[in-house]
């Protein structure tokens, strides 16, 4: 058995898709326990019973439509006219626009690809160093995944069986905290680099930019009012969002050709959705098997020998999740790790919503943590820079995010402020 386990680990490390690894683990575990392997089919088919599953393809489709259209330019113009006059203004604008974008594209690397080419030359022109600009864009690629309707939040809710509406609400303040901390760093950096003329605030430009991006600005407001005003469920909000974005990009802004561009967007977005949901499908068997075998409780008993209270558990959890984040992408980590840690965290008295925010913040940091943080590779590819340069560029941002993580972990009110 040990050789089979080592073989599976080796296959995972050489790059075999995670969904295949999960499937293989399920097959081996079921066979070993004398359970009919066709039970894996039952576990996979359970996916078709999840009512909120629809949100994943539709929100992702909407996000990809915006990424392919002129939305990044319009949003940048708007944010620049509103905040560009501040010290560090352009950097703050970049953070805000990326956060908006990531919330809709699900931190899948699309933000860096779609916005990186636009933001990097602007930052360089504004006399930011190449190192700072690369670090900022690389970090911003996952900033915003705590904001609704981000894909990792939806997936976490599905896997941990926590109300997605509540998670959406809980992520807002921690998400703003991350932006504020990075903005403060940008102001400090911006002031130092300010050699060019100061940008002047123009109300006319702001109004023109607002008029230009009005349809996109209405979108997040509509989603939040729809869900929290009780007018739509999360799934319905996803459907309306996808339809709305399709109409504005194809027929109002006319950035996309309905027959030529939309099918391509569907292929791109569904290739990502397929990759994520296949992991979910194949991992269902493993996670349910582990829960049935009471593995989380055995881990809990073992942990109790050296963890005595909630705070030591949270410290351990953060270290563990940061390590997980360096090795696994956020989607696999949610599917594999969440079912194991939720019962343990509950035993230590951690609120399930607080746990979700801690978990997602850790994994957000994982995107820029060497050696295999996903954003580091995407930026390296996008800007044609060596990966080691990206490690150095992102390091100050990594430290700032860890600081924010400590605040989020040890001050639960940041996450639970709007939760009864």
């Amino acid at each position: 058995m040990i050789f089979i386990a080592l073989g599976i680990i080796a296959l995972a490390l050489i790059g075999t898709p995670i969904f295949v690894i999960m499937g293989l683990v399920s097959l081996v575990a079921f066979s070993n326990a004398g359970i009919e392997v066709s039970a894996i089919g039952i576990e996979i088919y359970k996916i078709a019973a999840a009512p909120t599953l629809l949100t994943i393809p539709l929100f992702t489709f909407a996000g990809y439509l915006m990424a392919e259209s002129g939305t990044p330019k319009r949003l940048f113009r708007l944010a620049d006219s509103a905040l560009g006059w501040m010290p560090g203004g352009v950097a703050i604008v970049s953070l805000v626009v990326c956060a908006f974008f990531t919330a809709f594209t699900g931190a899948s690397g699309v933000t860096i690809v779609a916005l990186g080419g636009l933001l990097y030359p602007i930052l360089i022109e504004e006399k930011y160093s190449s190192k700072f600009s690369l670090g900022l864009i690389t970090t911003s690629g996952s900033l915003g995944l705590l904001f609704p309707p981000s894909l990792p939040i939806i997936l976490y809710g599905l896997v941990a069986k926590v109300d997605i509406d509540t998670l959406f609400k809980a992520g807002i303040v921690p998400g703003i905290l991350l932006i504020v901390i990075l903005s403060a760093w940008s102001i400090r950096n911006g002031a130092k680099k300010e050699k060019n003329e100061k940008k002047v605030f123009s109300r006319t430009e702001l109004l023109a930019a607002l008029k230009g991006a009005i349809w996109e600005i209405l979108l997040p407001i509509g989603v939040l009012v729809g869900i929290y005003g009780g007018y739509t469920t999360v799934s319905e909000a996803a459907a309306l969002t996808a339809l709305y974005v399709l109409i504005i990009e194809c027929f109002i802004y006319k950035d996309l050709n309905f027959f030529k561009d939309v099918p391509k967007v569907i292929y791109d977005s569904m290739a990502l959705v397929g990759a994520i949901l296949l992991i979910l499908c194949c991992a269902m068997g493993v996670t349910n098997f582990l829960v049935d075998e009471e593995i989380p409780m055995q881990i809990l008993d073992w942990m109790r020998t050296f963890l005595t209270n909630k705070y030591s558990f949270l410290l351990f959890l953060n270290i563990f999740l940061l390590i997980v984040g360096t090795m696994m992408d956020i989607f696999s980590a949610i599917i594999v790790v969440v079912p194991l840690i939720t019962p343990i965290a509950a035993e230590f008295g951690v609120h399930p919503v607080h746990l979700a925010i801690i978990f997602l913040t850790n994994l957000e940091i994982g995107y820029i943590t060497p050696p295999v943080g996903l954003n580091l590779f995407i930026s390296s590819f996008r800007f044609k820079k060596p990966i080691t340069e990206l490690y150095r560029a992102s390091f100050p941002f990594l430290l700032l995010l860890v600081f924010a993580l400590i605040l989020i972990t040890y001050i639960p009110e940041i996450s639970l402020i709007w939760i009864k």
Partner: protein, 166 residues
């Protein structure tokens, strides 16, 4: 022989792409229809089940496309290291191993899901529009089978100069 396999692979890619576009539009239309009908107090119960099965279908067809593009999520430490060190020949062999392992595993899971489908066909019930639950379960072995084929083709194709260069 490889050309025939390539033709089949391209057919799978094309067919999956068309069905995927159709699935997304049906998903969108029926989801919006549910909302609109609710405004006039009409509820058609099978709509939701239909949409959920479209999501299941889109999952597997999206997986088919991700397999062709090589964009499945993986840990990939060794592969990236070999690429960084310009050890292309070793990387090709590592890729072959992952394709073969993926193919073998998927054949096993497909068989397991096929067995479940047979049971469901015998003991299941009609879900909607006269469609039996066994047929709907069939989406799983069908999708996994297509993905398995694409991994097999990638393995075979990796021995051709064009395939090895990818």
């Amino acid at each position: 022989m490889v050309n025939l396999l390539r033709l089949i692979d391209k057919g799978i890619e094309k067919g999956s792409s068309y069905i995927l576009v159709l699935s997304i539009f049906l998903m969108l239309v029926f989801s919006v229809l549910i909302i609109v009908l609710r405004w006039i107090d009409i509820s058609i119960p099978w709509f939701e089940s239909f949409i959920r099965h479209l999501v299941l279908l889109a999952t597997f067809l999206g997986g088919v496309l991700a397999t062709g593009r090589g964009t499945h999520i993986g840990i990939d430490i060794l592969s990236k290291y070999l690429e960084g060190q310009k050890l292309t020949q070793y990387k090709v062999w590592v890729n072959r191993l992952t394709y073969l392992a993926s193919f073998g595993t998927l054949v096993w899971i497909t068989k397991a899901c096929y067995d479940f489908m047979i049971v469901e066909l015998e003991y299941g019930k009609v879900e909607f529009l006269g469609l039996h639950s066994g047929v709907l379960v069939g989406i799983i072995p069908f999708g996994l089978g297509l993905i398995a084929y694409r991994f097999l083709f990638k393995f075979i194709d990796s021995f051709t100069p064009a395939g090895a260069a990818q």
